[in-house]
C-alpha cells in the first residue's frame, strides 16, 4: 500500500480524479444556472460545484508541487 501511495501511478490517478472533479463541478454549475437562472435556490448547487472545482485544482497544485520537488 505504501509503495502504491508513493508511486507515479497513484499521483496520476489523483490527477485524473482531480480533472473529473473540475469537470463535474463545472457541469453542476452550468446545468443549475441554465435551468434556474441566477436564483437563490441555485446557491447550494453552485457552492457544491465550486467546492468540486476547488478540490480538483488543489489536486493539480499538489501534483505539480510534488513534481517540482
Amino acid at each position: 500500500m505504501k509503495n502504491f501511495l508513493r508511486s507515479e501511478g497513484y499521483a496520476r490517478a489523483r490527477l485524473v480524479s482531480g480533472a473529473l472533479f473540475v469537470l463535474l463541478g463545472i457541469v453542476v454549475i452550468v446545468r443549475t444556472l441554465a435551468a434556474t437562472g441566477a436564483a437563490v435556490a441555485a446557491i447550494p448547487a453552485c457552492a457544491l460545484g465550486g467546492a468540486m472545482v476547488a478540490l480538483g485544482v488543489l489536486r493539480y497544485r499538489d501534483y505539480f508541487t510534488n513534481r517540482a520537488r
Binding site: V27, T32, A35, A39, P44, A51, A54, L58
Partner: protein, 547 residues
C-alpha cells in the same frame, strides 16, 4: 499515583510514522462517517431546505477546519480542542471544553454504533430498529460492550485497515455522486422541491443544528498531528483536502436527495400516496441508513451499491464508534494528567496497560445514553412521556441533539482560544494561518487578528443557539452535563487545594520547545527560540507586562 507515574515514565512516546495519506484517512474515517448519520436526520427536519442547512453548517465547518489546521500545525499534540483551549484560555475553560468534547465522544460511541446496526439492517432485516427495537437495542449494547472490552485489552484497528476502508469509501462515494449527478440530477426538480417543501423557520433551525453533526470529529486532525512526520507542513495540506472532500460529500448528498430522479419507483407511503425521495430518506424507517438507501436509487450503479454500501457504511461507522471509545479515554487520561480530572482517570489496567477506568466510565455513560435514546421505542408508556415532554423525539434524534450541543460548545471555545493564542503566543511560528487577518500591535508585539475566527465563532454560536431553541432534550441534557461537570471540577480542585477559578502555573515555553523538538520541526523550534529572545530583549528595554 506512584504507579501511574511509573507507568508514564515507562510509556514509550508515540512513534511519528503517519504518512500524508495516513493523516488524511485518519481524519476521513472519523469525519467521513458523519454524513452516513447526518443525512437522514437533516432531511427529516429541514425537508426542502436540507441543502441550505448543510451549506450553512458546511461554511461554519470550513472555518472550524481552518482553525484546527492552524492550531494543529502550530501545536502538534494529541489533545485537540481541549489542549488548545487549556493553553489559550486557562484551566477552567480547558476543563469545560474537554468536558464538552467528552460528551461528544460518549455520544459518538452510541450514535455510530446505533447507525452501524441501522446500515446492517438494510441487509439483515431482523436488525431493523422500527420492526425489532429490542433486537436492535441488544445488538447496539453488545457492540458498545465489545468495543469497551477490545479497548481495555488494547486491540485497535490498524492504521492500514483505516486507510483501506477510507480509500474504498472515497472511491465508492465519488462513484455514487458521479452517477447521480451525470444521469439523474435534475436542477428543475431541485428548485421545485426547495419551493414546495420549504420548512418552517423552526424546522430550518432544527435542520441546521443537526447538519453540524455531519462535520464533527476534527479532533482527529490533531490526533494525527501528534503522530505525523513533519506535521507543520503535512497537516495543512491533508486538512484542506479533507475539509473540501467532506464538504463536497455533504453538499452532494443533500442536493441529490432533493433533486435526483430515482432510478426505480419509490414505495408508497403508509397512506398509499406517492412520496418524494427526500421524504422517503428522512422517514423513521430510513433516516438511520439514508446514504445506503439513496445509493440504491442511483442509475446504473445503484444495484451494486445496494449490496455493498450498507456494509462499507457499517464498517466506517464502527471505526468511528471505536474512535469515540479511544478518544474519550485518552482525553480523560490527558485531562487527569493536567489535574483537570481526578487521578483515577489515569489509572491503567495492570495487565494490559490501557486506561481501563476511563474506558469503563465513558462506555458506561454511553450505555446510559443508549438506554435513554432507546426507551421510547421499547416501552409504549415511556413513548407517551417523551411525546408529552420532548415533542416525541425519537432515539437517534435525541443522540443527534446532544452531539450537536457538545460539538457547538467545544468549537466555540476553540475559536476564542485561537484568537487568544494569536495575541498571547505570537512567538510560536505558524506555518499555516487562517486567511484574512488584520495586523496590529499588542503589548509591543506584532500580531494578526483572525477575522475568519470571528465569523466562525458567530456561526457556531448561532448553531448552538439553534440547538438550544429547537431541541427539547438537548437544551436540558447538554447544559446539565456541563454544569454538573463544572461543579465536580470545582469540588475536586478545592479538595486538592489547587486554584479553583485561576490556572496553575505552566511553563509553556518549555512545553512548546519539547513539542516542536519531538515533532522533528527543528527549524520551527529555532524560529520560536529566536522570537522569544527578541521579545525578551524588547521587554527588557520597554517593560510592558507578561508575555
Amino acid at each position: 499515583m506512584a504507579a501511574s507515574a511509573a507507568v508514564a515514565a515507562e510509556e514509550p512516546s508515540l512513534r511519528r510514522a503517519v504518512t500524508p495519506w495516513g493523516s488524511f484517512s485518519w481524519g476521513y474515517s472519523d469525519v467521513g462517517a458523519d454524513i452516513f448519520v447526518g443525512l437522514g436526520l437533516v432531511l427529516g427536519a429541514a425537508a426542502g431546505a436540507s441543502n441550505i442547512a448543510f451549506l450553512f453548517a458546511g461554511l461554519v465547518y470550513v472555518c472550524i477546519g481552518l482553525a484546527y489546521t492552524e492550531l494543529a500545525a502550530a501545536y502538534p499534540v494529541a489533545g485537540g480542542g481541549q489542549y488548545f483551549v487549556f493553553r489559550g484560555l486557562g484551566d477552567i475553560f480547558g476543563f469545560i471544553a474537554g468536558w464538552a468534547v467528552l460528551l461528544d465522544f460518549t455520544i459518538d460511541i452510541v450514535l455510530f454504533a446505533w447507525s452501524c446496526i441501522d446500515y446492517l439492517s438494510k441487509l439483515i432485516p431482523i436488525l431493523s430498529f422500527t420492526a425489532h427495537p429490542w433486537v436492535h437495542f441488544i445488538v447496539v449494547l453488545s457492540v458498545i460492550a465489545g468495543l469497551a472490552v477490545l479497548n481495555i485489552i488494547g486491540v485497535r484497528e490498524s492504521s492500514a485497515f483505516n486507510e483501506l476502508v477510507s480509500g474504498m469509501d472515497i472511491v465508492s462515494e465519488t462513484s455514487i455522486l458521479f452517477f447521480g449527478f451525470l444521469f439523474a440530477f435534475q436542477p428543475q426538480l431541485l428548485v421545485h422541491t426547495m419551493q414546495t417543501a420549504w420548512p418552517t423557520p423552526f424546522n430550518l433551525m432544527n435542520g441546521v443544528s443537526l447538519a453540524i453533526i455531519s462535520f464533527v470529529g476534527l479532533e482527529s486532525i490533531s490526533q494525527a498531528a501528534q503522530e505525523t512526520q513533519r506535521p507543520a507542513s503535512v497537516i495543512p495540506r491533508t486538512s484542506i483536502s479533507l475539509i473540501l472532500t467532506i464538504l463536497i460529500f455533504a453538499l452532494a448528498y443533500s442536493n441529490l436527495a432533493l433533486g435526483m430522479q430515482p432510478w426505480h419507483p419509490l414505495p408508497l407511503d403508509a397512506h398509499g400516496h406517492a412520496q418524494q425521495l427526500w421524504h422517503y430518506l428522512g422517514n423513521e424507517e430510513n433516516n438511520g441508513a439514508a446514504v445506503a438507501v439513496l445509493a440504491s436509487y442511483v442509475p446504473y450503479f445503484g444495484a451494486l451499491a445496494a449490496l455493498y454500501v450498507p456494509v462499507l457504511g457499517a464498517i466506517l461507522l464502527l471505526i468511528s464508534s471505536n474512535s469515540g471509545v479511544f478518544g474519550s479515554s485518552r482525553i480523560a487520561y490527558a485531562m487527569s494528567g493536567t489535574q483537570l480530572l481526578p487521578s483515577a482517570f489515569q489509572r491503567v489496567h495492570k495487565k494490559y496497560r490501557t486506561p481501563a477506568v476511563s474506558i469503563s466510565v465513558f462506555c458506561g455513560v454511553a450505555i446510559v445514553e443508549l438506554v435513554f435514546a432507546a426507551l421510547p421505542s421499547l416501552s409504549p408508556a415511556v413513548h407517551e412521556i417523551y411525546a408529552r415532554l420532548f415533542r416525541g423525539e425519537d432515539g437517534i434524534t435525541f443522540l443527534g441533539d446532544l452531539y450537536a450541543f457538545g460539538a457547538a460548545a467545544s468549537y466555540s471555545f476553540v475559536f476564542i482560544a485561537l484568537i487568544s493564542l494569536r495575541f498571547n503566543d505570537s512567538a510560536s511560528p505558524r506555518r499555516f494561518k487562517m486567511p484574512f487577518n488584520i495586523p496590529m500591535t499588542y503589548k509591543g508585539n506584532r500580531v494578526e487578528f483572525p477575522v475568519v475566527a470571528v465569523i466562525g465563532f458567530l456561526g457556531i454560536m448561532s448553531i448552538l443557539v439553534f440547538t438550544m431553541i429547537t431541541h427539547e432534550i438537548g437544551r436540558i441534557a447538554g447544559p446539565s452535563w456541563i454544569i454538573l461537570g463544572t461543579i465536580g471540577y470545582l469540588l475536586y480542585r478545592r479538595r486538592k487545594r489547587l486554584p479553583v477559578f485561576r490556572s496553575q502555573p505552566h511553563d509553556w515555553r518549555k512545553a512548546q520547545v519539547n513539542i516542536l523538538q519531538s515533532a522533528g520541526e527543528l527549524e520551527m523550534m529555532d524560529e520560536y527560540l529566536a522570537n522569544i529572545r527578541k521579545m525578551d530583549e524588547r521587554r527588557a528595554i520597554h517593560p510592558i507586562g507578561p508575555l
